[in-house]
């Protein structure tokens, strides 16, 4: 088998991967660094982030306030040392991006402009109109072109991590263009493969977000952390799941039920004011808004649409000028995909799966428990998002922890010896044989990728959606076990070597099934409600037993193990999450 | 390559200037002398008057500009039309020499005629 060799290998070419690549190149220009990505880097899903990136920059703001918002927003499941490091470094990273050319929106005097965002008590969200992710990704990608030392494997799919004596020393990957299966060895591997929204039927996530990196790490024996915490974004378009950014609410949009009533006032989120109030009503956190939607359905106050129940997002009172200036992409998306103009019409929205708080368990430098393996971005869980991520924290997260993981991996690789044993090459050879036999040459299967994928998505939606119960989760677990069995019996129409996307989707399906199983089992074990994980059979938060991270892993025999690891609390002891007017806060206390 | 790099802006400038002159001045001239007079929409010019008009220094300058710059406009544009329309970029040298040859010859002819008129 052909092999190639690098010092640091970044799996995934999105925001985290590219930021990490630059960090490696800057840390030690002598290192042979490579980015391997299943799509061209500028196609990565970072591109779709809209609203903005939070970073403390204005004089009226402080690191501590951002920390508090993040920690309370995460329902005290955040590791507070990680949060603090993150929030201190976020503005520097955003500034670095500014120096690399990111076209941040500006104040009239030329300084960075900031906007309000859900769950944030201060205005601190940097933005580039409502295409922030797009500009960040392209700025990073174009900046990496400057570094000749960054080698790219574009449109290669990693199928396995090579592990030798407990240490990760490379990957096996398939080149889509040629169908070549190859071992790529490296002293350090950084997973930056993004999230797994595609395990659900309605998601803002792109087709490529299939949890590949989480599954790779899980199969290699690394634990996944807090996988039960899945963020629903309260405002997705009903058929496509296309995201209508939170910035639409930050600029003053209202959430209305079928009576035109701002229903969030009924859910402990404050009183309706004509202008947006920080940490109140429409600017509450995403988990609470999505949960309020389900309650509205139960009350029969939602609107029946062709794709199920919806509520309305009302931007009409903002006026055409503000919408064009601050939310042009929202208008473009509504016109294009819903045939309506938000300047004059209501936007039908529903909660859709948006983000995975959990992921590959890492420390504050992106290191996983497996030596040589690092992770950053949505596929990782450093634990800054806890049980519910605040909007505009994920873009700085990919930058801060992309850079940290890059630096850590570079330092590890600088000190490590090349370790490519015969056993590793044999593993790679075995993997190649597996891919050939189970997929490319297999003709006797009778299952179809899309059928199993759809069944899995429906199972997750009904079993592990916004509200879960013991029964729904157990049913889902049973169902997923059957689906995993069936997935072993997939037959491909396509046996071609060249750009075999059906093979790719089969491999992705296996990754998604791993991730789905982890989600359901993690959710089953956590018998409390916290943030985005709401158990109707255990409606209260239980800090005595569950102020802890779920760690799910599998042993050599494939048996699932769930463990817990205490949350790191430094300066912010667990308290109640209060949103809405200060007067209400006082009344409640 | 280096030589071409430094010259292309000059050719493009001539092309643009010629394009402007051609757009502003040529239609009315062709309209008068190519259509209106031959078709007797307007009366034909008296020879002497026309000659004295053309002999005015300002008119000579005007006519020179009107003839020379549009030829450079033509040379540039027609060159690319041949490249793209006929896919003959490999004949670059021949095409280039012919197009600009016409432009230079036309300009010299115009200068000579207007000098002697």
């Amino acid at each position: 088998m052909e092999t190639s060799s690098h010092d640091v290998l970044l799996v995934g070419g999105g925001g985290a991967g590219l930021r990490a690549a630059i960090a490696v190149a800057e840390t030690n220009p002598k290192l042979r660094v490579a980015v391997i990505s299943k799509v061209y880097p500028m196609r990565s899903h970072t591109v779709a982030a809209e609203g903005g990136a939070a970073g403390v920059v204005k004089p009226d703001d402080s690191i501590d306030e951002h920390c508090y918002d993040t920690i309370s927003g995460g329902d005290w499941l955040c590791d507070q040392d990680a949060v603090e490091a993150f929030i201190k470094e976020a503005p520097q990273e955003l500034l670095r991006l500014e120096h690399w050319g990111c076209p941040w929106s500006r104040e009239p005097d030329g300084h960075i402009a900031v906007r309000a965002f859900g769950g944030m008590k201060k205005r601190r969200t940097w933005f580039a109109a409502d295409k922030t992710g797009f500009h960040i990704l392209h700025t990073l990608f174009q900046t990496t072109l400057k570094y000749n030392e960054i080698f790219r494997y574009d449109e290669w799919f990693v199928t396995k991590l090579l592990v030798d004596d407990g240490r990760v020393c490379g990957v096996v990957a398939i080149e889509l263009m040629s169908g070549r299966i190859q071992a790529i060895t490296a002293k350090a591997v950084v997973l930056c493969t993004g999230g797994c929204g595609r395990v659900f039927p309605y998601t803002t996530n792109a087709a490529i977000k299939t949890g590949d990196g989480m599954s790779l790490a899980y199969r290699a024996g690394a634990p996944l952390k807090d996988m039960e915490f899945i963020q629903y974004h309260p405002t997705g378009l009903p058929f496509t799941g296309i995201l209508i950014t939170e910035a639409a609410r930050a600029e003053g949009g209202y959430m209305l039920n079928k009576d035109g009533y701002r229903y969030l006032q009924d859910y402990d989120l404050g009183r309706p004011e004509p202008k947006p109030v920080l940490r109140s009503m429409e600017l509450g956190p995403r988990d609470r808004l999505s949960q309020a939607f389900v309650k509205e359905i139960e009350k029969g106050r939602t609107i029946h649409g062709p794709y199920g129940e919806v509520v309305h997002l009302d931007l009409r009172h903002l006026g055409e000028k503000l919408i064009n200036q601050k939310l042009p992409f929202v208008r473009e998306l509504c016109l294009k995909y819903e045939g309506l103009d938000p300047v004059t019409q209501l936007i039908p929205v529903r909660p859709v799966v948006h983000y995975m708080m959990g992921g590959v368990s890492t420390d504050i430098n992106g290191a996983t428990p497996l030596p040589g393996l690092y992770a950053a971005g949505e596929c990782a869980c450093v634990s800054i998002n806890g049980a519910n991520r605040l909007g505009s924290n994920s873009l700085p997260e990919i930058l801060v922890f992309g850079a940290r993981a890059g630096v850590a991996a570079a330092e590890f690789a600088s000190g490590a010896a090349e370790q490519v044993s015969q056993a590793v090459l044999a593993q790679a050879e075995d993997e190649r044989r597996r891919l050939e036999q189970q997929f490319l040459r297999k003709t006797d299967g009778n299952e179809r990728v899309a059928v199993i994928r759809e069944a899995m998505q429906k199972t997750l939606e009904s079993g592990a959606g916004i509200y879960r119960t013991q029964k729904s989760l157990e049913d889902a677990a049973t169902h997923l076990a059957i689906l995993r069995e069936r997935a072993g019996n997939i037959a491909l129409d396509d046996h071609s070597r060249t750009f075999n996307t059906e093979l790719l989707s089969a491999l992705e399906l296996h990754c998604m099934l791993d991730v789905a199983i982890c989600i359901v089992h993690s959710a089953l074990s956590r018998t409390e409600s916290r943030g985005a994980h709401q158990r109707t059979d255990y409606p209260d938060r239980n800090d005595r037993d569950f102020l802890a991270h779920t760690l799910i892993s599998q042993d050599e025999h494939g048996a699932i193990r769930v463990n817990y690891k205490p949350v790191t609390i430094t300066r912010w002891p667990p308290g109640e999450r209060v949103y809405g007017q200060p007067t209400q806060t006082a009344a409640k206390a | 390559m280096e030589a071409k790099k430094s010259h292309e802006p000059i050719f493009w400038t001539l092309f643009s200037a010629g394009g402007v002159v051609a757009a502003l001045l040529l239609p009315v001239h062709l309209f008068i002398f190519g259509m209106a007079v031959p078709l007797h929409w307007i009366h034909g010019p008296a020879y002497n008057l026309l000659l004295s008009l053309a002999q005015m220094p300002i008119a000579r300058l005007y006519l020179f500009v009107m003839c020379s710059l549009p030829l450079f406009h033509f040379a540039h544009r027609f060159r690319y039309t041949l490249y793209d329309g006929l896919q003959i970029k490999h004949l670059n040298e021949v095409v280039f020499a012919s197009c600009y040859g016409i432009a230079v010859l036309g300009t010299v002819a115009a200068g000579w005629l207007l000098w002697r008129i």
């Binding site: 500028m42 591109v47 076209p103 396509d494 071609s496 060249t498 | 790099k5 292309e8 493009w12 793209d84």
Partner: protein, 267 residues
């Protein structure tokens, strides 16, 4: 395209799940197929798919891939017009598959082919490494000498406005498919890359325009463009590459004239 190669395939009842959609109205897709392992050249294959109001071309292709023919090969990802993966020729026009509604082509047929002016890898998948080389050539990154330390480079909204439009390029390459020069002259740097170069040149924080001029003012750069204007017309993000290139020509011409008239002046 070999007309004889046209075969119609529809969903096998045993394979498609219970199809909830109304099947009374459907439409014929004619999709360009090319398998490098079997074919010498592309041919069209027909599929019948239902029409639904909210379906874009991409939904129809995915319907085929999922239910009728798993070998159909195409790129896609975000399906919201921002990742730039799904550019195809749809009835001869370069368009994004995720932003083009199926119902607009009723009663059909709709012809879907790979983007023009690129080598075809397979079916609708084109080879784009050439574009990435060209992109790198124009140095699409901020060049700023001096202090790269603390504090932001100030930029007023007006200064941002100068290049904002040209920064919207999603590299979907529809402009290359629309540009005849890109097809005729493969070394022409092309609309998207030139527009991105212009984007950095017009950025008030950038000081690299002189550096970029060497590449751009080359005959394969801006001078190759004859202003067909199609790149701008097909651009789904209104980047206006044609305008960018002409503006750049004007700037380069001024620059050229200056050094021609004043060779002693500073460059």
């Amino acid at each position: 395209m070999a007309a004889g190669g046209t075969r119609v395939r529809t969903a096998n009842s045993d394979r498609s799940e219970s199809i909830t959609m109304a099947r009374n109205i459907d439409i014929e897709l004619q999709v360009s197929r090319y398998s490098p392992e079997q074919d010498l050249e592309p041919h069209l294959q027909s599929y019948r798919v239902p029409i639904r109001d909210e379906w874009v071309i991409l939904d129809a292709l995915n319907y085929v891939k999922d239910k009728i023919d798993g070998t159909l090969t195409f790129r896609w990802s975000c399906r919201m017009g921002i990742c730039g993966s799904c550019g195809y020729m749809i009835n001869g026009e370069p368009k994004l598959g995720c932003a083009t509604f199926l119902k607009d082509y009723a009663p059909g047929p709709v012809k879907i082919e790979p983007l023009r002016n690129f080598p075809i890898v397979r079916d609708l998948v084109i080879e784009i490494s050439d574009f990435l080389e060209k992109l790198k050539k124009v140095k699409p990154w901020l060049i700023h000498e001096g202090s790269n330390g603390q504090g932001e480079y100030l930029q007023t909204p007006d200064q941002l406005e100068q290049f904002r439009q040209h920064s919207m390029c999603i590299n979907c390459l529809l402009c290359y498919a629309a540009c005849p020069i890109s097809g005729l002259d493969p070394i022409f740097i092309g609309p998207a890359a030139l527009a991105l170069a212009h984007r950095y040149n017009k950025d008030s924080r950038d000081q690299g325009s002189a550096e970029r001029m060497a590449t751009l003012s080359h005959p394969d750069g801006i001078w190759g463009c004859t202003f067909v204007g199609e790149c701008t017309r097909v651009c789904p993000k209104h980047v206006d590459p044609a305008g960018a290139i002409q503006q750049y020509k004007l700037a380069a011409a001024m620059d050229g004239m200056k050094s021609f008239l004043m060779p002693w002046g500073k460059r």
